[in-house]
């Protein structure tokens, strides 16, 4: 089975429930807005008045949402006060929602061979990310590389052409501070 690559625009929100700077615990919400992946599928007909085989455009959109509890481990701070952290996300819940559509599919006359279907499943996940914080007088910025395996969940027996997603995510963002 060929590997299908899905592309997303990730949005990540991290929140430290304990205001103390040394507290390692944080909560993370992660939502991946899908970019449609295009493929092809073949459909067949017995109708002698139509082409016996047609190739259709298949569109798959995969929405991924993850909520995790994480622990931040400080690894390094340089003279400019830039710092590097390793975020461990040992427990998370991830839902993956795949929406499949076929362009111009005439399902009255044609039968799709091994069609894909929609899938919406969730399961437990683990994750890990490396975060580099750029210290700035006005606004701290960060760059994060995050990896997460697919959820611990069966995909079912249906013969789909795609698998659960293991997101590899590169995020650029701001650190916002607030005082109670």
């Amino acid at each position: 089975m060929p590997i299908i690559l899905f592309y997303h625009v990730p949005i990540t929100l991290q929140w430290k429930p304990v205001a103390k700077k040394t507290s390692p615990v944080f909560l993370e919400l992660n939502y991946n807005i899908p970019i449609t992946v295009k493929g092809t599928s073949n459909a067949f007909t017995l109708n002698p008045g139509l082409p016996k085989e047609v190739t259709l455009e298949e569109n798959i959109r995969a929405f991924v949402f993850t909520a995790s509890i994480g622990f931040r481990i400080h690894l390094y701070t340089n003279k400019k006060n830039n710092s590097f952290y390793l975020n461990l996300l040992p427990v998370g819940i991830c839902t993956q929602n795949f929406r499949v559509s076929y362009k111009d599919y005439n399902n009255e006359d044609y039968e799709m061979l091994n069609p894909d279907i929609n899938l919406n499943k969730g399961g437990f996940v683990m994750g890990m990310s490396g975060v580099y914080n750029f210290h700035n007088r006005n606004q701290d910025m960060m760059i994060m590389l995050r990896v997460q395996p697919p959820p611990f969940q069966s995909r079912g027996d249906y013969p789909l052409s795609y698998n659960f997603i293991a997101p590899l995510q590169l995020t650029f963002g701001y650190n916002l501070y607030y005082n109670k």
């Binding site: 067949f44 017995l46 039968e111 799709m112 091994n114 069609p115 279907i117 027996d157 013969p159």
Partner: protein, 201 residues
């Protein structure tokens, strides 16, 4: 006490065997009661007969599964050509439990073949469509045999590459048929795994 334990273990074992059968029926959302068109060797065939969905049965029995799958064989005739017969038992697939009272019990698709027909010729049918001028269909209705014309499209016929012995062929395709003006078989699709050890050609 020992006897009771023995009985309990035996019952558990029978229960396990009884529940082990699983069928690869994946419903087509566009055609209620029918399976999707697949080419995975799922041993499933569905069609409408006068708008009622039919399927080849698969039943769990004690110590295994009775899988009523494709019976594929060459019928040798006295004429210039022989006949290739694809047949399988059928039952209603509309949720009603009428296995013993279903109007039709078996379907057979028949097509003429050369007397020298081999497995290589069977594989060469991949992607070919045969119209009603050449093929016929037979429906078995208790003591009656009803025959008519059929269209067959062999969408995929190829070796099962996941089988290390290389003695299995996956045959999948579409069919429709009519028997006179009263019986119409529509939207037929099949996906069978055939062992070449059981073929008579």
């Amino acid at each position: 006490m020992k006897f009771k334990t023995y009985i309990l273990k035996t019952c558990l074992l029978i229960f396990c065997f009884y529940g082990c059968g699983k069928r690869n029926f994946f419903p087509d959302p566009d055609d209620p009661g029918l399976s999707i068109l697949s080419s995975k060797g799922f041993n499933v065939a569905t069609s409408y007969i006068n708008d009622t969905p039919y399927i080849n049965p698969k039943r769990n029995i004690l110590f295994g599964v009775l899988n009523d799958t494709l019976s594929l064989f060459k019928v040798v005739t006295n004429g210039p050509s022989d006949t290739l017969s694809f047949s399988w038992p059928i039952e209603l697939n509309n949720g009603s439990d009428t296995f013993y009272n279903a109007p039709y019990q078996r379907i057979a698709l028949l097509m003429p073949i050369a007397k020298s027909f081999t497995i290589r010729d069977l594989l060469a049918l991949n992607g070919q469509q045969f119209n009603a001028n050449t093929n016929s269909v037979v429906l078995f209705n208790y003591n009656k045999i009803l025959s008519g014309n059929s269209n067959i499209y062999f969408v995929r016929i190829n070796w099962n590459l996941s089988n290390s012995d290389k003695n299995q062929i996956i045959i999948s395709g579409l069919f429709n048929a009519n028997i006179g003006d009263s019986i119409f078989i529509t939207k037929g699709r099949f996906d069978f795994l055939v062992s070449t050890d059981n073929l008579n050609f």
